[in-house]
């Protein structure tokens, strides 16, 4: 066989393999969307779930998912940012850095159900936080922290060393260089990373089943005092999220339209995650354009 022919065959095989990967994704999306989208309606998106009769919605679960996501991000972003700045800008080769890096790697490979069970034992039981949004947000932080730290670290590492040299040659301290040059330059790619990780966190179920709980008590959307138990903002209430809801319907749902609810909820989940993923790069690119050309 001559080289030219071998090259042609190799090209064909590589195309086919890539095609298969794309096809798997398209098939899954199509399956979920085709089954789920016909069940979607404003009523479905906004009304509470029903346990025994048909016609329930996913309104509370949808709200819970977003609220948990925001809380988890508020907790995990500053920590991840600090860790990433340390690792990329300050750390020297040494024992402490090795320990931090190894810790992040191990944390990122922990199965999320283990994170959930740990959160259950420590926060729900030991610290008496109960099945609550707060417990869930902390568990999600553990789950999210290593991924977010790594993505921010990569964003910082992409800023060329020339910029750091320019900063210190202008008489900036290391901290000033980070604050005034590195971070502004890295903002677009950091935002992309945050939005992408938001997509992952949004779809997480296993870490939440034992921490945020599997029940969605009725909420009074007119009451925004976070200290009232029926307020949507109360962080101490149990909060079943969309992903947990899907899992629960499929394992023990007894409503007559369980299949339709599950399909509809899955479609909503996948659409939101898709929106996160598709918008991530767009937002980043637009921010970059805005920040670099006034």
């Amino acid at each position: 066989m001559n080289a030219k022919r071998a090259d042609k065959i190799a090209t064909g095989v590589i195309y086919a393999i890539s095609g298969i990967v794309a096809l798997i994704l398209i098939a899954m999306l199509a399956f979920i969307l085709i089954r789920g989208v016909p069940n979607l309606s404003w009523h479905f998106l906004t009304s509470p779930a029903r346990a025994f009769e048909a016609g329930g919605g996913i309104g509370i679960q949808l709200f819970n998912s977003f609220y948990l996501l925001i809380l988890a991000m508020i907790i995990s972003f500053p920590i991840a940012l600090g860790a990433a700045i340390y690792l990329n800008e300050y750390s020297k080769k040494g024992k402490f850095t090795t320990v931090v890096r190894t810790a992040i790697e191990i944390l990122s490979s922990l199965p999320s159900v283990v994170v959930g069970l740990f959160g259950f034992l420590i926060f729900v039981v030991q610290f008496h936080l109960g099945f609550s949004i707060l417990s869930g947000a902390i568990a999600l932080t553990f789950f999210n922290l290593p991924l977010l730290t790594r993505s921010i670290e990569t964003s910082l590492a992409q800023i060329p060393n020339l910029q750091r040299e320019a900063g210190s040659a202008l008489g900036l301290s290391r901290w000033e260089t980070v604050i005034h040059i590195i971070l502004p330059a890295a903002v677009p790619s950091i935002v992309t990373g945050v939005v992408l990780s938001a997509g992952r966190v949004f779809g997480e179920a296993a870490a939440l089943i034992y921490t945020a709980g599997q029940s969605a008590p009725a909420l009074n959307f007119a009451d925004w005092n976070p200290f009232n138990i029926s307020s949507p903002l109360n962080p101490m209430r149990p909060a079943e999220t969309l992903a947990v809801h899907i899992w629960k319907i499929n394992s023990e749902g007894i409503m007559p339209d369980a299949n339709a609810v599950s399909a509809g909820a899955s479609a909503v989940l996948i659409i939101v995650v898709l929106l996160f993923n598709l918008s991530a790069r767009k937002i980043g690119a637009q921010l970059y354009k805005k920040l670099t050309s006034a």
């Binding site: 210190s168 040659a169 202008l170 920040l291």
Partner: protein, 256 residues
């Protein structure tokens, strides 16, 4: 050349530098007058960039580099533990091989150092921007685009903005580490013109690979080889009548 009678802005004595265990500079004695351009020439690996980066303590950013010897910068001991590197680098500006504007507007780039020093007055900043960009000979090209991104400029323009950014903080000594080697001939020429215009107001040290550049713009030339300073003299002497055989071989293009 009247540089013998001039006072020195910087006197370095017995400068040695190690990368780990490897000695890269073997005791350099070199002085720089208050005004004019000194060119550092020599083949790659001769230590000229290493030396110039020791002057504003850029090696502090790396691990594993040791510097010894004395650096007397107008009475300031550069490597004294009490010397504030932040303050030092404001007094000794540096332009690098690669143009490195920050990803902000041209205006923001130029006022960067001033803003950090606490200057807030708009009129003062505007004036500094115009003055520095004029000094760097790029005012005419960018005066209508001051609020556009500096990243949109050509390499040569970016390098002159980088220069303006350094000039804006009014340094006393300017270090130029191969400032034109990443640029096309026209841009290089523009930078050279700019440096010649600044020659009467600033002390400048330029590392260059181009011997023709050294001969065109410098008043004095120092020849480095394998971590040693072989010879330093007026540029004319170095190129026409060098004392050492090695200098003679290098400037006549026999090696390097």
């Amino acid at each position: 050349m009247t540089d013998i009678k001039q006072k020195n802005i910087l006197e370095t004595r017995d400068v040695k530098l190690w990368y780990g265990q490897k000695e890269a500079l073997h005791g350099i004695n070199l002085n720089f007058p208050e005004k004019g351009i000194t060119a550092l020439i020599g083949p790659s690996g001769s230590g000229k960039s290493t030396y110039i980066r020791a002057i504003n303590r850029m090696h502090d950013l790396e691990d594993n580099v040791t510097v010894t010897g004395s650096f007397d910068f107008k009475g300031t001991d550069i490597y004294a533990p009490t010397t504030d590197t932040v303050d030092l680098r404001k007094r000794i500006g540096m332009v690098f091989q690669q143009p490195n504007p920050f990803p902000f507007s041209i205006y923001e780039n130029v006022i960067f150092g001033l803003k950090l020093a606490g200057v807030k007055d708009k009129a003062e900043l505007d004036e500094a921007v115009e003055k520095s960009l004029k000094q760097a000979s790029i005012w005419e090209e960018v005066k209508d685009d001051l609020h556009k991104s500096a990243l949109g400029l050509s390499g040569g323009q970016q390098q002159r903005v980088s220069l303006a950014r350094v000039l804006a903080t009014a340094p006393e000594l300017l270090l130029l580490d191969e400032p034109t080697s990443a640029l096309d001939p026209v841009s290089s020429h523009n930078i050279e013109e700019t440096l010649l215009n600044l020659r009467d107001d600033y002390a400048m040290i330029i590392v260059t690979h181009s011997m023709s550049q050294a001969s065109r713009i410098s008043d004095r030339t120092a020849f480095f080889l394998n971590g040693d300073l072989i010879e330093v003299d007026s540029t004319k002497h170095i190129f026409l009548n060098p004392q050492s055989q090695e200098t003679q071989d290098y400037v006549s293009g026999r090696f390097g």
